[in-house]
């Protein structure tokens, strides 16, 4: 396979190079209990507080499948446009101390969700290979020495996370830039939150992103890929991908080759380093988990899951964009959906408020807690006061902040603060007075070069604001000054 589109992120790569990215995302499902036992699925408790014979893998214990986990995984599958089919759990066998049974129960050849897609806000459609259910491992804490398993004095294991339900969402290698990868991660996160499937906190590890990155000369086959782990934020994801692509290009341009390997992102140094080399494909000796029975969702199950799906972020962006008459990629639209303010914005626009001002407020002035409690009518009234000249942009921002804090009506808040935009005759009176009082400066403003005019514009605006106690509309005042100067 060769990509048909050139890299849209050519700027970070040397001319003629492209990169190819696929992401594997692990998400903890937002269940009350673990995947195969009744222990709480809860982060941050005392080590090994949330354990039982099953999640400790004690001899004789057996898994008991959590229905809620299956439901959430299937819901995610449908939100990602996957086929939800008969699935079978398998054992992935490998020895590691964080894994109490020395095998992981996962899905192999028959995953719950197969073959979907996710549309990036900027347009491209990214294929979803599969989204399968599996159990998480425990957590190792290496004490002393170098702090790694090889050189620590001893290691402690916390099995609270052991058996926490995960979905692993594997994308196709459809992304061509770190920007797209970041967009994918953000969009996936938005879907996980909207569907209630996961709290998707990268910093707490409830959403973990691994990136497969390769580079190639545009038009030529793809190169060898490396997998990057330990990406704890969307920002790290972008940095790590760009760094890794440049590292690989560096190797290739120096006549070296890229080894297929797993690499570790070091946030502090901003570099990736070798974690382990994949000499051969690991042999996990997968086989069907005999302690569990296959999952066989009926058509009715899938219809019920579909019916309960919320409107997804992509559809919400499209609806707001249409109402506002702007592209779905507009900053205000993206922010509105991300912050859950799209209903507010649509209602305000539907009530006759200016769409541009509404989206501007959402994008710049409503990144605060409580914004979602705003009354759409009152928010619309505020925007109307602003566009009607009753409030300046600065005043509107101040009033909006107070509306969020107190829930008050914009007219009352403006009045209480003495915000009354000057009518145009009062503004003209102030400006005429200033021209008379500062003849020399006025002459320089009229006849000077751009630099001098800029400086004097600031001088006069300062005086206008002073004379009007800050109630003059800056834009209107600038326009009047220029008109009077014949500019």
């Amino acid at each position: 396979m060769t990509p048909s589109t050139p890299s849209p992120n050519a700027s970070v790569l040397p001319e003629g190079w492209g990169m190819v990215i696929g992401l594997e995302v692990h998400c903890e499902l937002a269940t009350a209990t673990k995947l195969f036992c009744c222990c709480p699925n809860h982060f941050g408790d005392q080590p090994n507080a949330n354990t039982c014979p099953t999640c400790l893998g004690l001899p004789g214990s057996l898994p008991m499948l959590n229905e809620q986990a299956v439901e959430l995984a299937m819901r995610l599958g449908r939100a990602l446009n996957c086929d939800v089919k008969r699935s079978v759990f398998s054992r992935k066998n490998y020895f590691y101390p964080d894994q109490p049974k020395d095998y992981q129960v996962t899905q192999y050849d028959l995953p719950t969700n197969l073959g979907g897609h996710l549309d990036l806000p900027s347009g491209p459609r990214i294929g979803i290979t599969r989204a399968h259910i599996e159990e998480d491992t425990g957590k190792l804490n290496h004490v002393g020495g170098g702090g790694r398993i090889h050189d620590a004095e001893h290691s402690l294991v916390d099995y609270n996370r052991s058996g926490v339900p995960l979905v692993e969402i594997v994308s196709e290698a459809d992304m061509r830039s770190s920007e797209q990868a970041k967009e994918y991660a953000n969009e996936l996160r938005a879907i996980l939150l909207a569907t209630g499937v996961s709290d998707a906190k990268m910093e707490e590890g409830s959403m973990r992103v691994d990136a497969n990155v390769s580079v190639h000369h545009l038009g030529e086959p793809w190169g060898t890929r490396c997998e990057i782990k330990n990406l704890n934020s969307v920002r790290s994801l972008g940095r790590a991908i760009d760094h890794e692509a440049l590292r690989q290009i560096d190797l290739l341009t120096n006549g070296e080759t890229v080894r297929q390997e797993t690499r570790h992102w070091d946030e502090a140094s901003g570099r990736t380093g070798t974690l382990r080399v994949k000499e051969d494909a690991d042999d996990y000796r997968y086989f069907p988990e005999p302690d569990l029975v296959p999952l066989e969702p009926s058509a009715a199950d899938i219809a019920r899951i579909d019916a309960a799906l919320p409107v997804l972020p992509g559809a919400r962006r499209a609806a707001l964009a249409e109402a506002a008459g702007v592209p779905a990629t507009a900053g205000g639209v993206v922010m509105a959906v991300e912050r859950g303010l799209d209903h507010l914005a649509r209602a305000a626009i539907g009530g006759g408020a200016d769409a541009g001002r509404v989206l501007t407020h959402v994008e710049h002035n409503l990144a605060v807690d409580g914004a979602e409690t705003l009354s759409p009518e009152r928010f619309g009234d505020l925007v109307k006061m602003e566009t009607g000249g009753e409030l300046t942009a600065t005043q509107a921002k101040t009033v909006l902040a107070e509306m969020v804090a107190t829930g008050g009506a914009p007219a009352e808040i403006a009045q209480a603060r003495g915000f009354e935009a000057l009518d145009s005759s009062a503004l003209e009176g102030i400006i005429d007075g200033l021209i008379a009082a500062h003849g020399e400066e006025w002459e320089q403003f009229r006849s000077g070069d751009d630099k001098a005019r800029g400086k004097l514009s600031g001088f006069f605006m300062g005086k206008v604001m002073q004379a009007s106690s800050g109630q003059a509309d800056g834009k209107a005042a600038t326009a009047l000054l220029r008109r009077k100067a014949g500019l």
Partner: protein, 472 residues
């Protein structure tokens, strides 16, 4: 006294559970050193439990259908606070923090554990010689093996140490020692009895079942331990039809198939074959219609079993790595610690099967071995289904010979052949049991195997009761 007689006496206040227990403990004291049925006898706990049963009777409560009945538990069943070793050094010092579902049900029924019985390490073997703690001996001739892997449980019942015992049967580990020790041994339908708390050998084959001296006692124990358990996802949700009320229904009109391939299998001794023929004759006389039947795919059972069981075992036994419990042999690195711990902790047969299973699941070999074995399993089920369209039950020898001498089968393959008649039922998931039916030329017990269709334990027990009656 049978288990049912003991329970009736205790519930009726005619005997105390303590008196019953003391009697059995004294029998154990007299012969245990010679027979080595147990890894651990829990006398103190047993007497305390007996007193508790007596207190309930005195208070007018009913302690349950097995009130005061001593029972021996195979040492791969988890018991709270009591070492559960699987007769392996690798579980040294481990005490489970929980009871197996069957142990909970026994306690609720008033039965009292006398201790944990010896087995081939992790239930891998057919003679109990693979125990890390030494072999058990056949009570009928202590120079002979009791069979295995549940040899200790079979010995305990045959020697009168307890009227009941539990074993586990993955390829014949209840039925074969029952045959060799002259007691009744039952492997129920896969999923009838919860595996929760049974230390896994091969999860898709393992099934817990009863040992008893009589068919009725075995049925009573089966009724107590069987039934749905949500903690085992492979547990069967269907309601459990009671067996005891139908035990005397006889076999008139039943169609009994004598399985040609198993009666003529490699190594079936003439004296054993003769006893099976006699059993067929007895059933015929009791009104059953007996015919020979061919179940062709069963001849591949042994080969399929020795891929599937070790494959699952290689994964199930991975957890014994020295990290969390049991034996740990320290080493400079984690990988070496794993290596040393497992090399020191597992016996040769367990290591052999882990190797076999790891190989069978390896990339490039899976289809040829594990995959093909699963297909054979499907064929065996298909052939059994065809047979059960024409027959209600099938019969065969349980084991090819009577009990053999300790040390006689050093070659693993010779040992594996012991299970040739029992393995097909495990692969199919069907119920099967062994009932004593006389003795061989050497005077040692011979067992006849009765196999039935999935979930049809009732008919199987009826046939067993008829055979038992014919011997009386």
């Amino acid at each position: 006294m049978s288990a049912l007689e003991i329970a009736a006496a205790v519930r009726g206040g005619e005997r105390t559970a303590r008196a019953v227990m003391e009697e059995h403990l004294s029998l154990i004291g007299a012969r245990e050193a010679e027979l080595h049925a147990f890894n651990l006898v829990t006398s103190e706990q047993a007497l305390a439990a007996a007193d508790a049963v007596d207190a309930r009777v005195a208070a007018g409560d009913d302690p349950g259908p097995l009130a005061g009945v001593p029972i021996a538990l195979k040492d791969n069943l988890c018991t709270t606070g009591i070492p559960t070793t699987c007769s392996s050094k690798i579980l040294a010092g481990w005490k489970p923090p929980y009871d197996a579902t069957v142990v909970e049900r026994l306690t609720a029924a008033g039965a009292i554990s006398v201790g944990k019985t010896n087995l081939d390490e992790f239930a891998m073997g057919s003679s109990t010689e693979n125990s890390a703690f030494g072999p058990s001996k056949n009570p009928h001739d202590i120079t002979k093996v009791p069979g295995g892997s549940s040899g200790g449980s079979a010995v305990a019942v045959a020697a009168g140490f307890a009227p009941l015992a539990l074993g586990s049967d993955t390829g014949g580990s209840i039925r074969q020692p029952a045959a060799l020790c002259g007691v009744v041994g039952v492997k129920p339908t896969y999923g009838r009895v919860s595996r929760y708390g049974l230390v896994a050998f091969a999860s898709s084959l393992d099934q817990i079942g009863p040992f008893a001296t009589t068919v009725a006692d075995a049925a009573a124990l089966y009724e107590v331990i069987a039934g749905h358990d949500p903690r085992d996802s492979t547990s069967i949700p269907e309601a459990l039809p009671p067996v005891l009320p139908r035990l005397g229904d006889g076999v008139a009109g039943l169609r009994v198939g004598l399985v040609t391939e198993l009666c003529q299998a490699e190594g079936i001794a003439p004296d054993v074959a003769a006893r099976v023929a006699a059993a067929a004759e007895a059933l015929s006389e009791a009104g059953a219609k007996v015919e020979e039947v061919s179940v062709p795919a069963v001849i591949y059972g042994l080969s399929a079993y020795y891929l599937i069981a070790p494959a699952e075992a290689s994964s199930n036994l991975a957890r014994y790595d020295g990290v969390r419990y049991g034996l740990r042999v320290d080493a400079p690195t984690t990988a070496e610690m794993y290596d040393r711990t497992r090399t020191a902790g597992f016996g040769p047969e367990v290591l052999r099967r882990i190797m076999l299973g790891t190989y069978a699941l390896s990339a490039g070999y899976y289809d040829a071995y594990y995959g093909k074995a699963q297909k054979v399993r499907t064929l065996i089920i298909r052939d059994f289904q065809a047979a059960y369209e024409r027959f209600d039950v099938l019969i065969s020898p349980t084991a090819p010979t009577t009990a053999f001498a300790l040390g006689a089968k050093a070659d693993p393959l010779a040992m594996y052949l012991n299970d040739i008649c029992t393995i097909p039922s495990n692969l199919a998931g069907h119920p099967a049991m062994s009932v004593p039916f006389g003795s061989g030329d050497d005077g040692l017990p011979v067992g006849v195997q009765i196999m039935a269709n999935a979930l049809d334990e009732v008919t199987m027990f009826q046939v067993a009761a008829t055979l038992e009656g014919a011997m009386a």
